[in-house]
């Protein structure tokens, strides 16, 4: 096969529509007779609802319907557990999931109490002001550690405490390994991840066609097929009666996959009930409390080191804040637990976590999905270990790398996909070398930094490594069709939120079929176009759907050759594909376009051979046995003003290995965007709650997304270690940029301020100028 496009920096098919404002996003859906919804949300984190008075709101002109839990009847029941806990011995998991509308007890600020449907969003918001709710305020479990204690206010009355889950995974005998250690480093680490804050909030539009007996739902979901199946179950429809469309989506990063958000039930329900289409667009104030967060963990961790810096074992006990409910199971803390092992040989491991219910919004995966937390712990332990053993920071990492001949490498614990955590492939040392070269590590540490310090400047360097489990199953599928226009259509079940699927998938098809990338029309996220699939998450789009696309295109190629060989009465091996046509090699006048062949493949009259399938079309599915493990390393040189604690990143280099690259432009963009979010997490973004679990900074004026002035220009270097687990050799890259940035900031800022010389360590993220100032003064 020619690979004209795969691996090339092809510009994107979708850009012209996006750049000219013609792409359809959720709030652009326009339907006749459309109504607009708004949701009344709880201002309290924990309260009993004594009474709701909607009479004034009902009387307001323009209000069409007001609904509370009582109106929902049997529909008002807890949502499903999206991800069950993994099959491990001794796992405790208390499933408690959210209701579409609160019946009696509110468990976090922002929980929905009532739905208003009106002729405009303006009027719907007016009506929200008219509704009177009599709340009985109850004591609040806000702080993670306090909520884990037996005497904490309980989030769910039917449980004895706030334990949502308890999981222990071990490798070997840590205690025995620790007895042989030259040094044991033991620290407490806290890591808080924020909210994904896509620039487009969530939204749902639903239309019920009573004559066709069909429900159509436009939704900003990352998992349209799952949502379709779920909605069919909720409403008692067959799946064929429900169409879910995920149109262009303005960023997702994980939280747009939660199923079900209350509005995903309420809006279709209201549309059916009222017999008119209904639109709900989340506003930014709602987004901060109604869309899921990721938030915090507290780790008490230790590493046992040999005198040469080799890891003998790691022990970790951590608390994980899961919020008021746990519909997404244990994905986030399991990722933390597994990713902590990093690119290193960790012969013994004893890791236990407790997921804790708090009176805060629900925690589900957000780009990195708990991996940041684990990476922070191991990287900090190695930093401290290197210091105590008198080793270089890069060297201690190199000494612990899994050697290239040890792959596939079995970590002997279970990953988020329930499969054993087995790294498929990797070659870590050359990537670290490339990184150190690119940042100029040796020169900086030996000559530049001492010179800068002599000038009174506070400039530090950081170097961190990580792995990322990507591209997990179960499967995705794709259908490739040559149209009689000669254009090729490709449909797949994953949703797309800016990852460039319209282009990277088209590149795969274009190479297989000998057409231009621009001649491939990709449809994603419309359940009427492609019936099966899981969704876009866990850096899996290119890996799982990409391979399905490639396979389907390969089948269509075979069909093209077969039909063309019959047409020309020649052997298939004599045929060449290119420029949207098939020709006999060396006989250019014997050419037929794919358009014409598509017509031939769908005859209107006459007989075909037994078993012939019409059309130049094929559908294929791909499911990897387990995830592909990408890896990377980041380095940064940063300057700090030691008085104001304002920072300036002077140089930032990313080294990564995501296996085969379909489109280097898109990969570069994914890395840059990931790093930007990582920088936000490390130094700017923090969801700040008070002791009543009230969010104190729920606006984009106070929740600080990095701007073009906070994010530096990145340099990128890479190596390519293809994954043996899929034919294309791809590993995912979507989350990579975001994962190690917190660990990098802690190390580099500590170095810039020479804190270790004063016995001060930065063992928490996020940092901020204020927090750095406090820590540097020794105010732990």
């Amino acid at each position: 096969m020619e690979t004209r496009y795969v691996g090339a920096p092809v510009t994107r098919n979708e850009d012209a529509r996006l750049l000219t404002g013609r792409a359809l996003f959720i709030d652009d859906v326009k339907l006749g007779n459309l109504l607009h919804a708004a949701v009344l949300r709880s201002p309290l984190a924990h309260a009993r609802i004594r009474a709701i008075d909607t009479s004034a709101a009902r009387a307001r002109a323009g209000v069409v319907g007001i609904f509370t839990a009582a109106d929902l009847g049997a529909m008002c029941k807890p949502g499903p557990v999206v991800v069950r806990p993994p099959p491990l011995d001794g796992v405790t998991f208390n499933a408690r999931t959210q209701m579409p509308l609160v019946k009696d007890t509110v468990r976090h600020v922002g929980e929905p109490i009532a739905l208003v449907v009106a002729t405009s969003r303006y009027v719907a918001e007016d009506a929200l002001d008219d509704i009177e709710v009599d709340y009985e305020a109850l004591p609040v479990a806000a702080d993670l550690e306090a909520s884990a204690r037996a005497d904490a206010p309980r989030v769910h009355d039917d449980l004895a405490d706030n334990v949502a889950a308890h999981v222990r995974q071990t490798i070997g005998d840590y205690a025995a390994a620790a007895r042989n250690a030259a040094r044991i480093i033991k620290r407490r680490f806290s890591y808080d991840h924020g909210c994904s804050s896509p620039i487009e909030t969530r939204g749902v539009v639903a239309a019920w066609d009573a004559k066709a007996d069909r429900l159509t739902v436009w939704d900003t979901t990352q998992a349209p097929v799952f949502l379709r199946n779920g909605l069919a179950g909720v409403f008692g429809f067959s799946e064929r009666q429900v169409r879910v469309v995920a149109p262009f989506i303005g960023g997702g990063f994980g939280p747009k996959i939660m199923m079900f958000y209350p509005e995903e039930i309420l809006i279709p329900w209201a549309a059916i009930k009222l017999g008119r289409p209904v639109k709900w667009i989340e506003d930014r104030a709602e987004h901060f409390v109604a869309t899921t967060h990721e938030r915090g963990q507290i780790h008490d961790a230790e590493v046992a080191l040999a005198a040469d810096g080799r890891i003998l074992g790691v022990k970790d006990v951590f608390l994980h804040d899961t919020g008021a409910y746990d519909p997404y199971g244990l994905t986030v803390p399991i990722n933390s637990q597994c990713t902590l092992l990093g690119p290193y040989v960790v012969p013994t491991y004893d890791s236990t976590f407790t997921a804790v219910f708090t009176h805060k919004p629900i925690v589900t995966p957000y780009r990195g999905a708990g991996r940041q937390h684990g990476v922070f712990v191991i990287e900090r332990l190695l930093d401290i270990g290197a210091r105590e053993l008198g080793l270089d920071r890069a060297e201690i990492r190199r000494r612990n790398f899994i050697p290239p001949d040890a792959f596939p490498y079995d970590n002997k614990i279970i990953y988020q996909d329930f499969a054993p955590l087995r790294y498929d492939s990797g070659n870590y040392a050359p990537l670290l070398d490339k990184l150190l070269d690119a940042i100029g590590y040796e020169k900086f540490v030996r000559t530049e930094q001492p010179a800068l310090r002599a000038q009174g400047r506070h400039v530090g360097i950081g170097v961190v490594c990580y792995v990322e489990g990507t591209g997990i199953g179960p499967y995705e599928g794709a259908k490739v069709q040559v149209q009689t226009s000669g254009r090729v259509s490709l449909a797949t079940g994953v949703g797309t939120q800016g990852q460039g699927h319209y282009t990277s998938f088209a590149q795969l098809v274009a190479d297989r079929l000998g057409v231009a990338v621009g001649d491939v029309d990709v449809v994603t996220g419309d359940t009427d176009q492609f019936y099966w699939g899981a969704g876009t998450f866990a850096s899996r789009g290119a890996v799982v759907a990409g391979n399905a696309v490639d396979q389907a295109a390969g089948l269509v190629r075979a069909k093209i050759l077969r039909v063309a060989a019959e047409h020309f009465e020649c052997a298939e091996v004599d045929l060449v594909l290119g420029d949207g046509a098939v020709a006999i090699a060396g006989v250019p006048e014997r050419t037929i376009t794919l358009a014409a062949l598509a017509g031939i493949a769908n005859p209107m009259r006459g007989a075909v051979a037994l078993g012939t399938e019409p059309g130049l079309e094929a559908t294929s599915y791909f499911g990897p046995p387990s995830g592909a493990t990408a890896n990377g390393a980041h380095a940064m040189i940063v300057e700090v003003d030691p008085e104001t604690m304002m920072i300036k990143i002077l140089k930032y280099v990313v080294a990564h290995d995501c296996g085969t690259v379909i489109n280097p432009l898109i990969v570069a963009g994914q890395i840059q965007g990931g790093v930007a979010q990582g920088i936000g997490n490390a130094f700017y973004e923090q969801l700040v709650f008070d002791d009543q679990a009230q969010l104190l900074n729920g606006t984009l004026a106070d929740y600080l997304l990095p701007t073009a002035l906070e994010v530096p220009r990145l340099e990128q270097v890479d190596t390519v270690t293809p994954s043996p687990l899929n034919p294309l050799g791809i590993k995912g890259v979507g989350e990579a940029g975001a994962i190690p940035v917190g660990a990098l900031f802690a190390q580099a800022l500590e170095d810039a301020l020479e804190l270790p010389r004063r016995g001060i360590e930065l063992n928490e993220i996020p940092l901020s100028p204020n927090r750095l100032w406090e820590l540097a003064r020794g105010e732990g």
Binding site: R121, Y122, E125, D126, D129, D283, R284, A285, E643, T644, M646, Y684, Q686, V688, L696, N697, T699, A701, D702, L704, P706, T707, L709, E710, S768, P769, N770, W773, E774
Partner: protein, 289 residues
Amino acid sequence: MKPAPFDYWTPESLEHALALKAEHGDAARWLAGGQSLLPAMNLRLARPGILIDLNPLSGLDGLTVGDAGVARIGALVRYRALERDAGIARHQTLLAEAVPHVAHPQIRNRGTLCGNLAHADPASELPAVMLALGARLQARSIRGERWIDAQDFFVDLFTTALAPDELLAAVELPAPPPRSGGAFLEVARRRGDYAMMAVAAVIELAPDGSCTAARLAYGNAGPSARRAPAAEQALVGRRIDDAALREAAALAERAVDPPGSVHASPAFQRHLAGVLTRRAVATAVARVS
């Protein structure tokens, strides 16, 4: 996040506008740039029953800077105009230095200096600049006009000396004194955010280099912008050397009464007030011309 309903007036003249305000008092809000008011209305934190839109009126966007440097800035003069005015750049350098710290280009294309001052957000930079410059503010109503010293204008959180029927019609900045220099410095989480601490400093020196006057004013330092008289006094009558800078910085830390926020504790804000005082005074001294 949609505003609650309101009556919207486009007055035919300034007199008409003032009459409407006199009739409706606090129930009515002026709409100039709207860059603070509209967000509050969208969040329904502000629900004015009546908006009186000044934008269609002519004559309120006057911006003049005299030969000596006296600047007169009308109610509808937008930040954008201040950023691009040669007279401001030449004579009112402290203001010119501060304005780019206000939000972002799109906001500065709409927002007005007078609107900012009348809003009296304690976290804003510009009230402090007005205090440091010794600005005078012109209030107009159907009762007539009066001038209010900046020192008396900012009363409390979001509260000014304006009466319910008054419009902040203009600001007058005096000519910079001879042998004076100024500096504006702030520390904000991101460029364009409200500062965790902001300082505006104006220093006057005698020919022998000793300080004859100092005005130090702080933003996000209490319920309203404030000066630090003790720190100012510590500078006057001496050469501003390192010891003087440190003394003034220490006094400034005591003079501010910062509220704290999710971004900065009061202790950190005080610390920043000291750091910025030292730096701003040193810069102002270096700029004396």
